[in-house]
């Protein structure tokens, strides 16, 4: 433990507490003055009033006459939908691209390297706008064998209607996060000693089988913790959906705050939602981490 502040530590702590309290008191005083001045108090009663705005995409029945609280729940569902599908697809893309970096095929290797180098140096927001305005709104009307139907109204997949907004947010998040995950997977694979590769090759295993059964399982302990933070990033970045008009949690909160003027309450609700979401993701990943480490231990 650091030895700084050892002398007079009590006084330093007291000083910090007093300074923080003075600063906090000043802020609270200012905010009360301002709230009184603008006639806004801290109050959550508006949550039960009718929202009055329509949402383009609803997982559960919703009408503008429903309450703000219900609108926020719908926003939650939309966020969860794009985050969960995004996590799954981004992991798949990331693992594929990361594994391709250690492929024997030079073309595949450099293609994957180019993908990572390009995507990671361009802002996500710009990519989302590209996917929305250029890629998905520019889709020609093409039915593909009755199973998939592309059009600039969205994609119909086996009777499942995916809106343009959902598709562009999902694609943007998956492509962007996939590039980061690819780097993590590459790092994890590099951490596995070269002897393991030589060993399975000398056993006559195919490259793909060896990667899946020998190398990746050993790379997992190095990959999983970094993967968790990428998953959290994906969840946080999903709020950029507002730029393309996808009604996610943040977009609904934004509309709610603009209509009711309840910035502080709205912010508190959003903060709580994201804390919950973070807990869910990191909790789930901790469980998975434990399971993977346990399995590795048992197999040794």
């Amino acid at each position: 433990m650091p030895q700084i502040f050892r002398r007079g530590r009590f006084w330093i702590q007291l000083g910090v507490v007093v300074a923080l309290m003075a600063f906090g008191g000043l802020l609270i005083n200012n905010i009360t003055v301002n709230l009184i001045r603008t006639g806004l108090g801290l109050d959550f009663g508006w949550l039960w009033r009718p929202a009055g705005f329509a949402l383009a995409e609803t997982a559960l029945p919703y009408a503008p006459t429903d309450s703000y609280a219900w609108a926020l729940v719908i926003g939650w569902m939309n966020s969860l939908k794009v985050i969960l599908v995004g996590l799954l697809l981004a992991t798949m893309l990331g693992v594929a691209a990361g594994a391709a970096r250690s492929s024997r095929n030079r073309l595949l290797r450099s293609l994957s390297g180019g993908y990572v180098a390009l995507i990671r140096q361009v802002p996500l927001l710009l990519q989302l706008l590209f996917w929305y305005f250029v890629a998905f709104l520019g889709l020609p009307d093409t039915p593909v064998g009755g199973l998939i139907h592309f059009s600039n109204q969205g994609i119909r997949l086996l009777g499942l209607n995916l809106s343009v907004e959902f598709c562009s947010v999902l694609t943007g998040l998956v492509v962007f996060t996939g590039a980061s995950i690819a780097e993590i997977v590459r790092g994890g694979i590099n951490a596995v000693s070269l002897g393991q590769w030589e060993a399975f090759r000398s056993l006559g295993l195919l490259e793909g089988v060896g990667l899946r059964r020998i190398v990746l399982p050993q790379a997992l302990p190095a990959i999983l913790p970094a993967l968790t933070s990428q998953f959290l990033n994906l969840a946080k970045n999903s709020t950029l959906a507002i730029a393309v008009g996808y009604a996610d949690l943040y977009a609904v909160s934004d509309t709610t705050i603009t209509q009711t003027g309840r910035a502080i309450e709205g912010f508190l609700l959003l903060l709580l939602s994201f804390l919950l979401l973070n807990l869910l993701i990191s909790g789930g990943m901790a469980l998975m981490n434990g399971a993977v480490l346990g399995r590795l231990q048992r197999s040794r």
Partner: protein, 324 residues
């Protein structure tokens, strides 16, 4: 069998690349119309800055570019080398002075700042504010005083839980509420403050990683030499920790530059914001692809330059190399 798979894969990839390349060429030859970019280059660079004063933000950009080139290609002259850190640290105040005016230049309000110069300013300003705050937070989290440790940890974890856009939005909305009535700070400054508060939490974690990498023996050695705890932190621990943290700090800096684009959602006319208003202009309707490719190229170049600079700095600071 394996070889056949390999050949088949190569062929497929070549076909894919060929198709992509051909459609790109076709679009470039037939469809692309770059007037939206070419005629608006001044807007992209400086925004709606008053015409007569445009040399100021332009000078700012040119100075940064020249400084980057000098640093990277670098003369071997010791004189130049030694003055580089000084030049870099003079850059931010100089840029603010050039943009804002005052002290002999006519003042220009922040509402007419825009384009690439605003992007640079947002990045540099918030980075400069966030770094010291992040270091303090990291030291606080490693401190053995419960109050300091708890406070810093709570701040870092809360900030890292919420998305940046929410921080920026509520920064614009809430910072005025927390100020005494009558005191107002403008939108650009609010953005810089909100950005810095957000980035500090991430920087703190990177610096903490660096601090953890320094073995306790360093501190003990410093104590044996008679350095006070403060001197040991300042002269021994922190410089080494920052050097260890440099690669991840670079990532943060690149992220910061990319994230300034979020200000477009909140109505600042930095690089992306200017493009949004241009695309709303009926003269350039539907020219999304040209504008986005151009923007992607600018951001890509800026981020790559930043990464190169950091790599350069890493080599410069490498103890093995500088000991020679």
């Amino acid at each position: 069998m394996n070889r056949w798979l390999d050949r088949w894969l190569t062929l497929m990839l070549l076909a894919l690349l060929g198709w992509a390349g051909w459609s790109c060429l076709h679009w470039l030859w037939r469809g692309a119309d770059w007037t939206v970019v070419v005629t608006n280059l001044p807007l992209y660079a400086v925004g709606s800055y008053p015409e007569a004063e445009r040399w100021r933000p332009l000078l700012c950009i040119v100075a940064v570019v020249v400084l980057i080139v000098i640093t990277l290609l670098g003369t071997r002259h010791g004189e130049w080398r030694r003055s580089l850190p000084l030049l870099w640290s003079a850059m931010a105040p100089l840029g603010i002075w050039l943009l804002a005016g005052g002290l002999g230049l006519s003042p220009v309000g922040t509402q007419s700042w825009g384009g690439f110069s605003l992007t640079l300013l947002l990045t540099a300003g918030s980075g400069l504010l966030a770094l010291p705050l992040g270091i303090v937070l990291a030291l606080g989290r490693r401190s053995d005083l419960p109050v300091l440790r708890g406070g810093s940890t709570a701040y870092i974890e809360l900030m890292r839980a919420i998305p940046l856009i929410a921080v920026l939005f509520f920064g614009q909305l809430l910072i005025p509420l927390f100020l005494p009535p009558g005191v107002e700070i403008n939108r650009v400054l609010r953005a810089v403050v909100a950005f810095a508060l957000f980035a500090a939490a991430y920087i703190a974690e990177d610096v903490r990683g660096g601090l953890q990498a320094i073995p306790p023996t360093q501190r003990e050695a410093a104590a044996v030499l008679g350095l006070s705890p403060r001197q040991s932190l300042q002269l021994v621990v922190l410089p080494q920790a920052l050097r260890v943290a440099l690669p991840s700090l670079t990532n943060q800096a690149v992220g910061l530059l990319q994230n300034t684009s979020l200000m477009a959602i909140l109505g600042l006319v930095e690089l992306l914001g200017i493009s949004r208003s241009l695309l709303a202009n009926p003269a350039f309707i539907g020219r999304y692809l040209e504008v986005y490719i151009w923007l992607a190229a600018v951001y890509w170049l800026a981020c790559t330059a930043m990464a190169l600079l950091a790599r350069h700095l890493e080599i410069q600071l490498d103890p093995v190399r500088s000991a020679r």
